[in-house]
């Protein structure tokens, strides 16, 4: 087995009395892009929320970079270098683009570091600089997603959890998004991406998992799942 940077082992989790994950396991190796696909309601978002600490697992074990994080709070996980970009509402709509980025760097002790990071973001995503004084709520869907990723990048995360980055975006915008994702990965950041519209993500992913009704169903390389007949039939709509 590959050396794993993130390991999720037999995790049970849910909301109050409602159990959603019934023993899910996966690993992410350093520098890897791992994709989790599965139908709506299969628990993909719940899985990421459990890893980042927004909800606590009732059973199981989560390890990040050699230390257990099963019951850590989100604030602690952020500090450890886990960035989480939720599905949908992933920007602060009433704050300007600039203020959103400032929030991204708020936990940095050195405010100069945050300013430099924002400077880099302007170079990397000129569209954000152009819109920096605009309320983030009035950005387009693609711009919002870019802003969310840029904000998460300020803390120089060591792992990015990305929940449905392409949801509701036009195909061209999705391409752009995956271009950004790929670039982050080439810079050495491992990513765990959850997607319902899976083709694009599978093409990029080194490895991928299929989640169904809160359980692991399949696991293979991205390529492998892309060519798997069952997956094609059930999840790629072909």
């Amino acid at each position: 087995m590959t050396e794993s940077f993130l390991e999720v082992r037999d995790v049970y989790s849910g909301y109050g009395k409602i159990e959603v994950l019934h023993g899910v396991s996966l690993t992410v190796a350093p520098k890897e892009i791992v994709c989790v696909i599965g139908p709506n309601g299969s628990g993909k978002s719940t899985l990421l929320k459990t890893i980042v600490g927004l909800i606590q697992p009732t059973r199981g074990f989560i390890q990040f970079d050699g230390s257990e994080i099963s019951h850590k709070e989100p604030e602690e996980n952020v500090e450890l270098g886990i960035a989480y970009i939720p599905q949908g509402k992933n920007i602060f709509p009433s704050l300007t683009v600039m203020e959103n980025l400032e929030m991204g760097g708020i936990s940095l002790k050195d405010s100069r570091k945050a300013r430099n990071a924002i400077q880099e973001i302007w170079e990397r995503y000129p569209i954000l600089q152009k819109r920096r004084k605009i309320k983030a709520g009035s950005l387009s869907g693609g711009e919002k997603q870019v802003l969310a990723m840029a904000r998460a990048s300020i803390l120089q995360p060591r792992l990015i959890l990305l929940d449905e980055p392409s949801i509701g975006l036009a195909p061209k915008v999705i391409d752009e998004m995956y271009h950004h994702i790929n670039r982050m990965n080439r810079e050495g950041i491992p990513l765990l991406i959850v997607e319902q519209n899976a083709r694009k993500a599978l093409r990029l992913a080194h490895r991928a998992y299929v989640l169904d009704l809160g359980r692991n169903r399949l696991e293979d390389t991205g390529e492998g799942l892309l060519n798997n007949e069952e997956v094609q039939h059930l999840y790629l709509g072909r």
Partner: protein, 287 residues
Amino acid sequence: MSYILQSIFNGLLAGCIYALFAMGLTMVYRVLNFVNFAHGELIMWGAYLLYLFMGDPFHFPLYVALIPALGFTILLGLGMDWIVFKPLRRTNRLTLLIAALGISFFLRNGAQLFWGAELRTYGFEIKRGWRLFHISMTANQMAIILATLGCIIIVYLLLYRSIIGKAMRAVSDNLELARVTGINAKKTIRFTWIISSALACVGGILLALDTNLQPGMGMINLVKAFAAILLGGVGNVWGALWGGIFIGLAENLSVLFISTGYKDSIAFGMMVLLLLLRPRVLYGSQE
């Protein structure tokens, strides 16, 4: 004509004070998603604390007494969150509402025990003020307007220019996202209580300066602040500001048509009406 102008002026004056109450109330709502029905007691205690530090045995001058009055009102606000609301944060909104009413009752009776139920004043002699376009204005009233403007500017600077104020807006936008962004939510919530309590204290003092002190002053003004935030869109700080001013104007212009004794019923009626239209506010659902 001059009577109408005077009414408008009085309305603006009252509206300024209501706006301070409403801004604090709506801020707590935005961040914590519940209406703090004990906010009125922060208003009342703020006013009485100033009275305390200006009277026996302290005899501080107004400007000195202001500091401990503000400080203790803020502690009271932080204290009610720490002791009562924080442990209840994860329960349903109705529990929070009832808890707030409980605190309100407790604090009101506490003040009454301490200072009695009778009307009191700070004992400044009312100086004849200026007359401007047929409007008469006392020095106190001038102070009210200036203090309100000062508070609004401070609130603006805090919310839009300071990092903690921006964090507060971020938390009110989306608490979960704020937490995973690395914003210290606890610190931000404390900051919200500090601003809200400070505004209540200043507003309470201004109100007592213009009228008088009595243990029931918190409750009645809570109704006005509540009506103001309903009017301005719950959770909207500037909406609360305009809502407060509107209520002040409506009340004071109403005396042109109805007896002064019914003045307070304007805000109450507005509150009932708006609640009928948007009852979900009580359960803490954002618009």
